[in-house]
Subunit: 244 residues, 2 copies
Amino acid sequence: MDRRGFLKKGLLAGVGITAGLLAENLPALASRIDDVKLPLPYVKLDPQEIADKAYSEYFKHECCDGVFRSILDALKEKVGGPYLGIPSLMFWYGGGGVAGWGTICGTLNGAAAIFNLTCKDFKPMIDVLVDWYQKEELPTYQPKVCGKVDIPHFPKSISHSPLCHVSVQRWCKVASVALKRPILYNSKERSERCARLTASVAAKTVELLNAYHFGGFKPTSVKGTQKTKMECFICHEAAMKEVE
Amino acid sequence: MDRRGFLKKGLLAGVGITAGLLAENLPALASRIDDVKLPLPYVKLDPQEIADKAYSEYFKHECCDGVFRSILDALKEKVGGPYLGIPSLMFWYGGGGVAGWGTICGTLNGAAAIFNLTCKDFKPMIDVLVDWYQKEELPTYQPKVCGKVDIPHFPKSISHSPLCHVSVQRWCKVASVALKRPILYNSKERSERCARLTASVAAKTVELLNAYHFGGFKPTSVKGTQKTKMECFICHEAAMKEVE
């Protein structure tokens, strides 16, 4: 296929992206520009390979980017097409529960975005991942080469929550007991924990994606939990008052 | 400019996107594919226009999509180029604090993603927006045509938190007092509130973007607040125990 033929075929495959590369051409082209349709095609990925990438990515642009980019970049490489128009760094902001605000764990935010991109029915996927995240002893990932600090029997904790600050503080408490010294938020141990968590969640996300697209995905009924969470003010007013 | 000239110029402007439109061409092209570099160019937008769009978008794909898409689509129209490769629907998942989990308010998640796309220094932007969100009486937006329910003197509340479930429950409580009847999560009043909140946050986000790019942006010092939030387990252990 010559260059001209390639461009023509390229245009047919993705007119929406190509047509708009020049801002000054837009007014005339506006009616021809289609949005990138979701879900995008998915190919089977290797959970271990993605986990390794996510772990090292964490030390560059934190947790949310670690999960999002490690999966996105693999899909850019293996599928290409519409994935290439998505900036790999667009989830950097999710680190530390969104720019350090301690809300949703960045790993879950990044994973949820990937589900939204690749699964028509993305909500049950998010439910299963969040449910797993808050019930499992994490992190389980063991790096080949350690990024920050190598501890034998690296401490694990159950978060009981999808929130960064709850998840982090629970781990710090468990780690302080296990290591017999105070492990604080600004420690290299906590950073290492979040890097391993990023890898653990990235691997689980890929497992779920593989199951969803190639068979074996089972939705979890978490409706009760969600309703309780949304109505928390009714159940634990004292806790809310304390936060004020 | 003829079609060939347009394509050539288009290629120069966005080789990363164009080169990858065909998945089967990828192995050979891989080394030529560059990631979409951030931040992307921004042009001044009209806060009122974006708020109107965000309000009506809410009723289609919820709060997070409402803020993200209303701004993204305006930039697709006015700037084009790299914005066209980003799927407009990719933040649908953020609704109800991420698929209904009640974590970060979807409006903040969507706005934070826009800051990440368009501002080199996106963290202070997120800080100012979150700080404003949790201290302001919201929603302030008044729709021209009401989506769900029109109430004279629509109730406003201060969220004291960037979390969806806290923000929603506080508003429900204030609205129940104001309207002298129980206003619950599954009410059309609450839905109308979140639509107006989506519009209010979208407008504020655009105001901050205009100030950042064209002058007048002032970062807020919220370091104290953030530290308190991250270390919440230490300060209100009872609240955490109650949630268990």
